[in-house]
């Protein structure tokens, strides 16, 4: 099979993994080398699904000895199979990189023979790129859950980012659909990564010469909508991962219908907007000081599809409003619907010099109609609106089209 055919199969098989950003870290090639990593990663292209093409995202192979039901590569699937040699992946990465098509490589793989054997193959690609070719572009390697500590340690020396996928939001879901996987094993791998990241950071504080370990940290991916598990449980798992293993990102990937699907799985994919709401809620947890039970209270364990989670919260907690833009502390401003972190920080600066008016807000390009009922400015005070039962209707964006359109961007910037 020629390389192009393999590429077709192995890129297709990798496309269901959403965790494909390339931000974080800093690298620079020597005179003889190639590549750099500087701050925010670059999206070199976009496919008609609206997603960014930043890394060469492929599987080393889609042969797999496991049988995860939601995955097209499971052993019982009769999909076409292919396998790259490590040298082929190295060649392809360098060729693409030199033409400025990509920021680097995102290499994952089905499990062949054993987790350790698979991990060794991935490491071989990374080692060759870094040591033989002086490649300093971005490298994201999959950490195969259950691979030995020594191998994880080695992978982190070459990779910018490592990720072990948690796959499903609860252990019960895993038992049902991915019998060979468990929270315990994946958690063990995540723990090893986070410990080594921390250790390397400490060492480098003492001596900048100490080796870097996965400087862009670790991420994970959760498939949403393959089981009936509610958003509350999904966010709860995510928030525990953030605290326990210091994850950089949790990616939510709406279960995508795959060819030759198993009868245990739903016949349809969850609405695209659900994934979008989860990303919004995720940002609220990490940067806006919200707790999981505020966003998904027991009586409403799923996020609203119509309202963004912050607006939904504000409508449940009207007594917290209106908030005075000229006086309120940062935490209170962050909870105003339509107010993003960047806007809040700008306002805090602006109000040191003059009293903020509606015109100021308009120039900062905030969604004023949505925000007005919730704020007080030097020249505006909402009148009774907050108690009106029609409030929800008034502040809801006219159609969901807008939010779908902005979703990709919001997932990146998290401005709510």
């Amino acid at each position: 099979m020629d390389v192009r055919k393999k590429l077709e199969i192995l890129a297709d098989a990798a496309k269901y993994d959403a965790s494909c950003s390339s931000s974080g870290g800093k690298r620079k090639a020597g005179k003889e080398g190639l590549g750099s990593v500087e701050g925010m990663g670059i999206c070199h292209s976009y496919t008609p699904d609206g997603r960014c093409v930043s890394l060469l995202k492929i599987l080393l192979t889609n042969f797999c000895i496991y049988d995860c039901q939601y995955c097209i590569n499971r052993i019982s699937s009769d999909t076409a199979r292919a396998r790259f040699t490590p040298a082929e992946v190295v060649r392809l990465t360098l060729d693409f990189y030199k033409r400025n098509y990509i920021e680097g490589l995102f290499l994952s793989s089905g499990v062949i023979k054993s987790p350790d054997y698979t991990m060794e193959q991935l490491i071989e690609v990374a080692r060759t790129l870094r040591e033989v070719h002086g490649f300093q572009g971005y490298l994201h390697l999959k950490a195969v859950p259950g691979a030995s500590k020594e191998l994880i340690d080695k992978a982190g020396l070459y990779a910018d980012r490592l990720s072990a996928n948690i796959e499903l939001p609860t252990d019960g879901d895993l038992k049902k659909l991915a019998p060979e996987k468990s929270f315990a094993v994946t958690g063990g791998t995540m723990k090893e990564i986070s410990a080594r990241v921390e250790q390397s950071r400490a060492e480098r504080q003492e001596s900048p010469k100490a080796p870097k370990f996965a400087p862009a940290g670790q991420s994970t991916q959760m498939i949403v909508g393959a089981t009936p598990t509610p958003d509350a449980a999904i966010l709860d798992t995510a928030s525990r991962l953030y605290t326990r293993f210091k994850l950089k990102r949790v990616y939510y990937s709406g279960y995508s219908p795959i060819p030759l699907v198993d009868a245990r799985l739903p016949a349809k994919s969850p609405p695209l907007v659900r994934e979008h709401r989860l990303y919004q809620a995720d940002w609220l947890l990490r940067f806006y000081g919200f707790r999981v039970d505020e966003l998904t209270p027991p009586e409403q364990p799923d996020l609203s599809l119509e309202l963004d989670p912050k607006l939904a919260w504000a409508l449940r907690r009207r007594e917290a409003f209106p908030v005075d833009v000229n006086r309120a502390p940062r935490e209170a401003l962050l909870r105003v619907p339509g107010m993003g972190v960047r806007t809040v920080d700008r306002l805090l600066r602006i109000r040191r010099w003059h009293r903020v008016t509606l015109a100021d807000l308009a120039r900062l390009r905030v969604p004023l109609t949505r925000m007005k009922p919730f704020i007080v400015t030097a020249d505006h005070r909402p009148t009774g609106l907050i108690d009106s039962s029609r409030l929800a209707e008034r502040v809801t964006p006219p159609s969901t089209q807008l939010s779908l359109f902005t979703s990709a961007r919001e997932a990146l910037t998290g401005e709510l």
């Binding site: 590429l7 620079k28 292209s45 030199k98 002086g134 995508s256 219908p257 010099w353 990709a408």
Partner: protein, 467 residues
């Protein structure tokens, strides 16, 4: 007074220093660019470039902004920069923190434009490999919006230190010879290399990494503006990928060929009249229990356009004909406006029985059919398509569209686009006319109406083009 600058930041700085030192306020100066006006009235030598002006210190943030703004194509930039500089040095030292100030806002907007353009240049430059005298060169032709070649070139030097490369643009060019950057004049596209054998491989990757189940052309366009497509080898695949997406998705969603429940009720001869009659006895899903009668499709067997709605409504259920209620009237109006005649179309619904719930005043309120009812009724729809064999199918609303393409289809994302499908050469979905009547928000309703008319017009044009 008229002052001529560079047009580069250094020459502006020199001029501005001189002006500030002499206390010339922004209203008194007009900046022009070299070659665009008469000679300078202010010799740059009035104040030597390196001499610090007493009391003149500008925040580093300004210099950083000015560096970007200077690359902008807008002729207002020098005047604007000088105004901000003046205000910074005349009592408003913290001006840049007031991002809502009109001048600051403008400066930031220009800077952001340049920043974005620079970012797109880093992203969209595509090198092509050529060999000359045994040496390997990488050459790209790119069309930036602003004068950013010098601003962005160091990035490429850091990233590709071991390659000999050149980036050519209409305004300027730059080359790296493994040691240093050399700048030159603009170069027309015709002088850039034509292709690279690797581009076929890149296109293979691009096509394979695309997920047709999540088609979202608008998001793609927002991030990858069409003006850059000409120099991106992968973009030529886009129309084909978009066109085939629904077909590929439908293969993903309905992998097994399930037999629709209603197939049990199919007549032996499947001409339209027999089908319509047999459907009167259909009991394949619970909907028939509460409805008055089956409302089958109507229209000539050879119709070139087939319209598919959701399900009959209250009036249709009483009379037994599709699209005669308020939604049907709206539909007729728009059809007439775009030059389509209802009599020549085959009009039907995805589900043939009226589904309803009781309202507060005992009226029958339309209830959206579920997926299982749609699938149960699909047998009738398929039989109609097979008989009519339309050149084009126009689905009104998500239910109809999803009856063909599965539940992943989104009206909001894919409305108005023409797809090639197994059922008809051209296939399109748009809003259901009753959605236009129901939308609570007036603006949204007017907007949707415009889209609806445009979609129908496009459908009519497509139909004509199909011959």
């Amino acid at each position: 007074m008229r002052v001529e600058v560079g047009p580069d930041l250094d020459s502006f700085r020199t001029a501005a220093r001189g002006l500030l030192a002499r206390g010339v306020s922004p209203e008194q100066v007009l900046f022009t660019e070299e070659g665009s006006g008469q000679g300078s009235l202010l010799a740059p030598a009035v104040v030597p470039a390196s001499a610090p002006v007493a009391g003149l210190s500008v925040p580093p943030a300004f210099l950083e902004l000015a560096q970007k703004v200077a690359c902008h194509r807008s002729p207002e930039r020098w005047g604007l920069l000088y105004r901000v500089l003046w205000r910074l040095t005349h009592g408003e030292r913290k001006l840049l923190e007031v991002e809502s100030d009109a001048d600051v806002y403008r400066v930031l907007t220009l800077a952001k434009g340049v920043q974005r353009d620079a970012h797109k240049m880093k992203a969209f430059v595509r090198f092509r490999r050529v060999e000359r005298e045994g040496e390997e060169f990488f050459i790209a032709w790119h069309r930036p919006e602003h004068f950013i070649v010098r601003y962005v070139a160091p990035f490429f030097a850091r990233r590709f230190p071991s390659m000999r490369w050149s980036i050519l643009t209409p305004d300027a060019s730059v080359s790296w010879d493994l040691e240093q950057l050399t700048y030159g004049p603009g170069v027309p596209r015709s002088q850039a290399p034509e292709g690279d054998a690797l581009e076929e491989m890149w296109r293979t990757y691009y096509a394979s990494t695309f997920n047709p189940a999540r088609l979202n052309v608008r998001a793609m366009r927002a991030e990858m503006p069409k003006k850059h497509w000409a120099t991106l080898p992968e973009t030529r695949l886009i129309p084909e990928l978009v066109r085939q997406a629904p077909q590929r998705t439908s293969r993903m969603v309905s992998p097994k060929l399930e037999l629709s429940e209603s197939s049990r009720f199919m007549p032996e001869h499947q001409d339209l009249a027999s089908l319509a009659q047999a459907a009167q006895g259909c009991r394949a899903c619970p909907l028939h229990e509460r409805a008055t009668r089956t409302v089958f499709g109507e229209g000539p067997a050879g119709a070139r356009l087939m319209l598919v709605g959701e399900q009959p409504g209250d009036q249709e259920d009483r009379v037994g004909r599709p699209f005669i209620g308020p939604a049907g009237q709206l539909l007729d109006t728009v059809l007439a406006a775009v030059g389509l005649e209802r009599e020549q179309l085959y009009v039907t619904n995805a589900v043939k029985h009226f589904g309803w719930v009781e309202g507060e005043e005992k009226q029958r309120l339309h209830a959206k059919p579920g997926r299982s009812e749609v699938l149960a009724c699909k047998g009738w729809l398929d039989a109609e398509v097979a008989q009519v064999r339309p050149k084009m199918i126009l689905c009104l609303g998500a239910t109809a569209a999803q009856a063909f393409l599965g539940p992943g289809f989104r009206i909001n994302l894919s409305r108005g686009q023409i797809f090639e499908t197994p059922w008809a050469k051209a296939w399109m979905a748009t809003f259901h006319p009753s959605a236009l009547l129901r939308m609570p928000d007036e603006r949204a309703r007017a907007q949707a109406r415009i889209h609806f008319e445009a979609d129908l017009r496009r459908a009519a044009d497509t139909l004509r083009a199909l011959g």
